[in-house]
């Protein structure tokens, strides 16, 4: 099942190893952004956003259209994030918040319906064919040479930017007033609203932030991936696997887990192409059996 020769051939040669690692890092970092949004929403609101992948898709499509109009990749990424965040807030306010505290069945159904509706709307607006944004002009530069391998500047930029966004998010949640209000409200919403703080507003903003993280991942990844309605679902499952491995609610855990998955995927595409997905599930199952709370979280998932 595992093609050892191919693995040795690749990782014996520096250039191939560098290429694989870069692509692993890209997959991992984008996945990290999506998963950090999911884990953030769960950590505070105790809701798993089953429609999270939809915001990743929306981010990608918004970025695609913005890029067609403006030819600016950075602006596209920004619009992708803001658009996804905005729709995230609407989704929270008008749909999912209506079923907070209710049977999880209701939450599932709302998310299921939302995914059906948005996927179909995307199909109507952008068509059902695969779309591709292509490498943006800003990044049509000669690649860096690292250990004999080539790293396109876009890739380096994506990896670094994702990391920066991750750090900013952690800062936002742990060090700012917004963060402390949200965390306090998560502990005791009644108490915080008694202080005159509009808790629902903060919850909506936090939900929007989580969705914006998914959106920016979709937007940033648009040049290296193809766009299709329904593209969000695969990434939803992967980011769920990330949060299981890293621990629900932990952003640093999500980073490490996402990198593990990213590297597994890129190595897997050389060494065990048919078993790449399977490998992710095996890792997840092992974590669930031996440390059900995730590798980086104390407490209980029971």
């Amino acid at each position: 099942m595992i093609d050892v020769d191919a693995l040795l051939n690749c990782f014996g040669v520096a250039s191939c190893a560098v290429n694989q690692l870069t692509s692993g890092l890209i997959i991992g970092m984008l996945l990290f952004l999506v998963a950090s949004g999911l884990t953030l929403i769960f950590g505070v609101l105790n809701v798993i956003n089953f429609a999270h992948g939809t915001f990743y898709m929306l981010g990608a499509y918004f970025a695609f259209s913005t890029y067609l109009l403006t030819e600016s990749y950075l602006l596209s990424a920004l619009i992708g994030a803001l658009g996804a965040g905005f729709f995230g807030i609407l989704f929270e306010r008008f749909l999912i918040s209506k079923v907070y505290g209710q049977d999880i069945l209701m939450q599932l159904l709302v998310c299921y319906a939302f995914i059906l509706i948005t996927d179909d709307l995307v199909k109507i607006i952008w068509g059902s064919e695969y779309l591709s944004m292509g490498v943006p002009d800003e990044f049509r530069l000669p690649p860096f040479r690292v250990f004999g391998g080539f790293v396109p500047p876009l890739y380096a930029f994506l990896i670094i930017l994702s990391l920066v966004i991750g750090v900013i998010t952690i800062f936002l949640i742990s060090k700012t007033r917004f963060g402390s209000i949200v965390r306090a409200a998560a502990e005791n919403a009644k108490m915080v609203s008694a202080l005159g703080i509009r808790v629902p507003l903060y919850f909506a903003l936090l939900f929007g932030l989580g969705c914006a993280l998914a959106g920016i991942a979709g937007a940033l990844g648009a040049p290296v991936r193809s766009l299709t309605p329904g593209m969000g679902f695969g990434i939803l499952i992967e980011s769920f696997i990330v949060t299981v491995i890293g621990g629900m609610g932990s952003i640093p855990g999500a980073l490490i887990a996402a990198l593990i998955l990213g590297i597994t995927r890129s190595i897997g595409s050389v060494g065990f192409p048919l078993f790449v997905d399977g490998m992710m599930f095996v890792i997840m199952a092992l974590v669930l059996i031996f440390k059900p709370t995730g590798l980086f979280v104390k407490g209980s998932s029971k």
Binding site: I48, I104, Y112, L116, I124, F240, V244, G278, F281
Partner: protein, 325 residues
């Protein structure tokens, strides 16, 4: 004997339903009612078995269709294997049937051991994740499953005991019997000690543990039985279409099943079946008038979930009892 006495009413209802179903085949020549009903048998079993998890035991699975699909694929693959058919000859179909159900049971036991320990949100997501695992296996293992295209080339249906499943009437009657039998079994389970133990767990699993219930073990047994029932639904579909398709393992199939349950109501035993009929009919109607059925169905779900906040059937039952007062 006690058993028969106790279930007398259910036995009568089952026999009468079966007679009605069979007479449909005998008196109506047009294939449409049979085709519609076979799809109800199949998806009805999916929904009814899912309700054993959701309604009886309070375990909200978002990945139940995986077992439906696994049953269908296992059944199709076994019968497409020439050696298998050669070896078992005219008993191929019953043996493939039983084996497929057992294979699904085994697979669900493995998934269940991992999942039943988790809390409800994790359980929902994990069952979904494992369903998508199966889906990705089906889609990528093209040489075995035909990938995106589904199991091609038809499923051989060698006659057994005078039953020829390639004949549409025979097939329909066979499926009716299996269906009624399965619903009857679910009914007995629902009214048995086990069924009440599931209610204990659904209502308050901590307290159940403190009166000596082996909560995890009972949940696992329930999970496996429900999965095996779903696989029967899948087998019926495989028989009907003479194939198996990856859509059956796709997450939307599970979402649909959950909505069927909600439409019919979790608290009424036969509710999910009513939900299946409703949703299948809605689906058929929407598909005639719109090429964007997902959009329409999505909106309908939103209206039912956020507007009525309960199943259609429960909603109307309440309306009626309200009027009576």
């Amino acid at each position: 004997m006690n058993f028969i006495k106790f279930h007398k009413k259910d036995i009568y209802i089952s026999i009468i339903s079966l007679l009605i179903l069979i007479s449909i085949a005998l008196f109506i020549e047009h294939p449409w009612p049979r085709d519609f009903l076979v799809s109800i048998f199949s998806f009805g079993l999916l929904a009814m078995s899912l309700n054993m998890l959701i309604g009886f035991a309070g375990m909200v699975s978002f990945g139940h269709a995986a077992f439906f699909a696994l049953g269908a694929y296992a059944f199709g693959l076994l019968l497409q294997n020439e050696n298998f058919v050669m070896y078992f000859g005219q008993f191929s179909i019953p043996i493939a049937f039983v084996l497929s159900v057992l294979i699904t049971g085994l697979y669900s036991a493995i998934i269940g051991i991992i999942c039943v320990r988790l809390n409800d949100i994790y359980f929902a997501f994990l069952t979904l994740a494992f369903q998508m695992f199966l889906y990705s296996v089906i889609v990528s293992w093209v040489s075995l499953t035909g990938g995106d295209q589904g199991l091609m080339g038809g499923i051989p249906r060698p006659p057994f005991l005078g039953i020829d499943l390639s004949d549409s009437i025979h097939r329909y009657i066979f499926c009716s019997i299996i269906f009624v039998l399965c619903i009857f079994i679910l009914r007995i389970l629902n009214k048995s000690n086990f069924g009440y133990t599931l209610r204990l767990i659904r209502d308050n699993s901590e307290r159940a543990e403190f009166i000596g219930i082996r909560v995890l073990r009972v949940k696992l047994i329930c999970f496996v039985i429900a999965s095996m029932m779903a696989s029967v639904g899948g087998i019926i579909m495989a028989l009907f279409t003479s194939g198996a398709y990856p859509e059956w393992a796709f997450w939307t199939q599970s979402g649909e099943a959950i909505f069927m349950i909600m439409l019919g109501g979790v608290s009424i035993f036969i509710g999910p079946l009513v939900g299946t009929i409703l949703l299948r009919s809605i689906n058929d109607i929407v598909q005639i008038y719109s090429s964007h059925s997902d959009l329409v169905i999505g909106i309908i779900i939103m209206i039912v979930v956020l507007g009525l906040r309960k199943g259609l059937v429960e909603y109307f039952l309440e309306k009626i009892s309200f009027k009576k007062k």
